[in-house]
């Protein structure tokens, strides 16, 4: 019995890693620009396909492809998207950018469909089937690697946000864009960088996940919904909050298998999303803040 539980928990933690990596990009863009990036799913999906081209087509090392090649490519994509699509509607009501980026997502899906058809793809590497055991619990090397990359990303992001000038400028813009402008920060450029970075993270997440799961042009949609859930739970102030939210969601989904059938797991994330939206305007960190009436930072 405990072995089963241990397997469940380990699996949940590894899945949480995937969810978290998926969600950083969304959180960043929303935190800085207050824009809900519906093309996020498209970037994730394209990340998977680009990884496919690199690893299967060009026989590139999976690690190099997903971590070193995909992110810079998608950074450029993100910058392009921001300049062409998002910039013109910054002043319009938020629903405009929501619908616009949704349209971009639709286009991305179709482009993938045209180039690669609707066939379901998988990427198999020497690592795909490797596993080892910790006690009685089997751990798949691939999933562990993805989890580790996600964790390292979190660390690097944290360092970037707190130690570098650019990172601090991004945080400043996220907290108060007017004050940031007054402090001399070029918020237009920051927006561009944030969107680029967010898209890069999404692409990388897609590339990493393509090593574990099969994908087709519809890939990314259900993850995006979970990411919304996570971002709302974890708040947009910190990546740590995102990681925490991912863990909560993954655990909720894993434990829910005990009561409802496997096909309904996504249902859990939707319910959590709705509840999260209603209950936590600032994510869990915001809720805690309210509860303890701490002086506003």
């Amino acid at each position: 019995m405990t072995t089963d539980l241990a397997i469940l928990l380990v699996s949940a933690v590894l899945v949480a890693g995937v969810y978290a990596t998926m969600s950083y990009g969304l959180a960043l863009i929303f935190g800085v620009m207050k824009v809900i990036n519906l093309s996020h799913a498209g970037a994730v999906m394209l990340g998977a396909y680009i990884a496919y081209v690199l690893i299967v087509g060009l026989r590139m090392n999976p690690f190099i492809a997903t971590v070193l090649v995909v992110p810079p490519l998608f950074f450029l994509l993100g910058v392009l998207l921001e300049r062409v699509f998002v910039r013109p509607v910054r002043k319009a009501p938020p629903i405009a950018s929501l619908l616009l980026l949704f349209g971009v997502w639709l286009m991305m899906q179709n482009i993938a469909y045209i180039i690669w058809t609707g066939e379901v793809r998988t990427i198999t590497t020497p690592y795909t089937m490797m596993r080892f055991k910790v006690g009685e619990v089997p751990i798949n090397v691939n999933r562990l690697a993805v989890f580790l990359v996600g964790a390292i990303t979190l660390l690097l992001l944290h360092q970037f946000m707190t130690r570098t000038y650019l990172g601090k400028a991004i945080r400043a813009t996220a907290q108060d864009s007017t004050a940031a402008k007054l402090a001399g920060i070029n918020t237009d450029q920051i927006d561009m960088v944030a969107f680029g970075l967010g898209t890069a993270l999404a692409g990388m997440a897609g590339a990493l996940t393509s090593l574990i799961y099969a994908f087709d042009p519809n890939f990314g949609g259900s993850y995006m919904l979970k990411s919304f859930c996570i971002v709302v739970l974890g708040g947009v102030e910190s990546f740590l909050g995102v990681a925490l939210g991912s863990l909560i969601l993954a655990l909720a989904e894993a434990l829910s298998v005990l009561w409802i059938r496997a096909g309904m797991q996504d249902f859990v994330s939707f319910v959590v999303l709705i509840v999260a939206l209603l209950v936590t305007p600032g994510g869990l960190p915001g809720l805690l803040q309210k509860r303890y009436a701490v002086r506003p930072r």
């Binding site: 639709l106 996504d266 939707f270 939206l277």
Partner: protein, 331 residues
């Protein structure tokens, strides 16, 4: 000018009424039926998304609930036509269920929540097999005189379409509609003036859900087969957003225009292919691209859709006419 417009209008009306008579069971009748349905969907969505400004990405739930209510009740022996108003009512009540928590959310948060509602409902339909027949869906009994039956539903859809337009027009000119427009533009300012925003939003959702539910009911009775993928699919929600946006969100005729154009495009896309550079492209591959590009172009350049475009052109023309008149009197 006025007389000509009325004549054209009546002409179109007569044409529509005659189609089943002239072309029994033809392609045009089917296309007509679908167009009427899509107009109802589009007008229904517009009440919430256009008038009240609450953009719902999950409106398909009303369509599916309406379809399944009719199917389930009919299969259990309830008289077929009676299931129609029941479908609308059940759909509206479902709207009350999820609208009560979700309409407390503002703007994009509401929209995100509706995506969740749509998908959650689809999963429910997929998994509550005893009630809904699961992934296999429900098949409804074929009637004896199929042509007469389908023609009848053609007219029913036509009547419901007219009804939904009348309702939309009535809302526009009522105190209720004024409140909805105010809510769309600035919910807090509206509240400060005495508008009970939450109640109005719920009412709009109920009305919208009722209409879309009716459409779902008709769909089930015409196609005689429903499954979760079709009647609860996300793509239907997307279509319900696209149509009013293309035509002109928040206007009276915009959703109608958008629905007509959309149905035509859908139809053409499914069958046409393009011959370029020696390759033959089947257009159906591009439909997401087309819709995505339309959405992007409209939001970037003419957010008020075709109606907005028409108004702009109209203004240009009248300004040009004014300028000409001035020149002529001066010269």
């Amino acid at each position: 000018m006025r007389a000509a417009r009325i004549l054209v209008f009546l002409g179109v009306l007569i044409l529509l009424v005659l189609i089943p008579v002239v072309g029994r069971g033809t392609y045009f009748q089917h296309l007509g039926f679908l167009t009427f349905l899509f107009i109802i969907l589009s007008v229904g969505w517009n009440l919430v998304g256009g008038y009240a400004g609450q953009v719902s990405f999950g409106h398909v739930v009303f369509f599916g609930i309406g379809a399944y209510t009719t199917a389930i009740l009919w299969l259990r022996g309830i008289p077929q036509l009676l299931t129609i108003p029941l479908a609308g009512i059940v759909a509206a009540l479902y709207g009350l269920l999820w609208g009560w928590p979700c309409l407390r959310l503002r703007g994009p948060y509401f929209s995100i929540a509706t995506i969740g509602v749509g998908e959650a409902t689809r999963l429910l339909a997929l998994n509550l097999e005893n009630l809904t027949g699961g992934a296999g869906g429900l098949t409804l009994p074929t009637p004896e005189d199929i042509h007469f039956y389908l023609a009848g539903f053609y007219y029913l859809a036509f009547l419901l379409m007219v009804g939904s337009l009348l309702i939309s027009a009535w809302v526009r000119n009522s105190r209720f509609g004024l409140g909805l427009f105010a809510i769309r533009m600035d919910e807090d300012a509206a509240e400060a003036l005495g508008v009970h925003a939450f109640r109005y939003k719920i009412l709009a959702l109920l009305l919208s859900g009722f209409l879309v539910g009716l459409a779902g009911s008709l769909y089930a009775q015409y196609i005689l087969y429903i499954d979760p993928g079709t009647v609860f699919g996300f793509s239907m929600s997307v279509n319900m957003i696209l149509m009013p946006i293309i035509g002109g969100i928040g206007t009276l005729w915009g959703p109608v225009l958008g629905a007509v154009i959309f149905t035509v495009i859908q139809d053409r896309i499914m069958t046409l292919s393009l011959n370029l550079w020696g390759f033959s492209f089947k257009l159906v591959q591009f439909h997401l691209l087309v819709y995505g590009a339309l959405l992007v172009l409209i939001i970037l350049f003419e957010p008020r859709g075709l109606v907005g475009l028409a108004e702009r052109v109209h203004r240009r023309i009248s300004r040009w006419r004014q300028a000409r008149a001035v020149i002529e009197t001066a010269g």
